[in-house]
Assembly symmetry: C2
Homo-oligomer: 227 residues x 2
């Protein structure tokens, strides 16, 4: 007979991780989803997720990176905790707790999506399995809440970008038009970006300068999470 909660393994919730990969694709903010092969929700779109495997994973974060590798064929990204979701009803298999992680990934780092993997626009999301729709909404709210005051939207761009591309990333993230001249002044004043010394290749007479995030902005960018 069990003598304490710790021994009552049947009292333990199911413990999983879920991952929200956000990217800019064809002018929209999109989330990476995959089609579930197995019950529950077989055939439905879902965030890449899976069980934490205590024998294999050193932390929930390691479990999330393993899931991204094995279920979506992705390399190790910089991921941060979004929030943890729990309760008796969110997974039909039983009382569950899921640690959700968030990553902002440039589209060019998601080159060959596997057959059952897709990018879905976050505005007009299809029905997702479990409470994954809510998790995506929380992730987008986090990005939109922090994006206006940080260099976060630049994390969605390739390593070098033009000023109009950066402005467009902010506009897509914030869902709002931005004045070009004040935007230019602001990002340059903040020492957020620096010239790479190169110009955009393959375009006409006046190729736009290419910029990259400064080291300081890159560090600051790692404040996607809560702490």
């Amino acid at each position: 007979m069990p003598t304490s909660d710790a021994d009552r393994r049947d009292w333990r919730p199911i413990a999983t991780v879920d991952t929200v990969i956000l990217t800019l694709d064809e002018g929209s903010l999109k989330v990476l989803v995959h089609r579930r092969q197995r019950a529950p929700f077989a055939g439905a779109w879902a965030l890449p997720g899976g069980y934490i495997r205590p024998g294999e994973d050193d932390s929930a974060e390691e479990a999330a990176l393993r899931v991204l590798r094995t279920k979506a064929g992705l390399p190790n990204f910089y991921i941060e905790q979004l929030a943890t979701y729990s309760g008796p009803a969110r997974d039909p298999r039983g009382w569950s707790i899921s640690v959700a992680f968030l990553a902002l990934v440039p589209r060019d780092l998601l080159p060959d999506l596997a057959e059952d993997v897709s990018l879905a626009a976050v505005d007009g999301l299809p029905d997702l399995a479990f409470d994954h729709g809510r998790i995506v909404r929380d992730a987008v709210a986090r990005l939109r809440g922090k994006g206006a005051y940080s260099s976060l939207p630049a994390a969605l761009l390739p390593e070098s970008f033009t000023l109009p591309e950066l402005q467009r990333a902010y506009e897509i993230v914030l869902g709002d038009h931005i004045d070009a001249s004040s935007f230019r002044r602001k990002v340059l004043d903040l020492d957020m970006i620096e010239e790479t010394g190169e110009a955009q290749a393959g375009v006409s007479k006046r190729p736009a300068k290419l910029y990259r995030l400064t080291g300081a902005a890159r560090t600051f960018n790692r404040t996607l999470g809560a702490a």
Copy 2:
């Protein structure tokens, strides 16, 4: 024989919650700790925490509120997720996952601390059980990071307070001296506080006006969490 991860109950991590109650007491930022009765870490100070009980709790948050009631005799506070801690080494009983919650509580709402409950200054914390020292440091970093730009420090005060009391709360949270006249101007400009119409009782000739948070600031205050 188990057919999937879901069936392998022995694969499931231990699932717990931990709670960080921060308050202002005798001029210091303090955290509520209790002395553990049982192994592991019997006799050590720890954050109030405990197992999630799927039969009893509707969510990790509900589990945290139950723990605060039963282990620290506290009423239901407004708590928010801080972060989730996981891994094979943080709990000697096995691979564990703990959802940590944070609350900012005025000292006058913690009137009669139980015998094995104490308030410990966050600067100069005693050794705590598990990884609870790290959890407290993360909570303080969250408060200090957000405090400068929000009305959060006021959540540590009673419902009505004087301007010097509010200034002192900011100084304690931020660990820095604040200029009185610019502070006064700023908090009044921001429509963060309003006069209650009353003055501080029991003091001499020129009693200080009492203030309270405005409704807007109260709502904004609920941004302690990540989203």
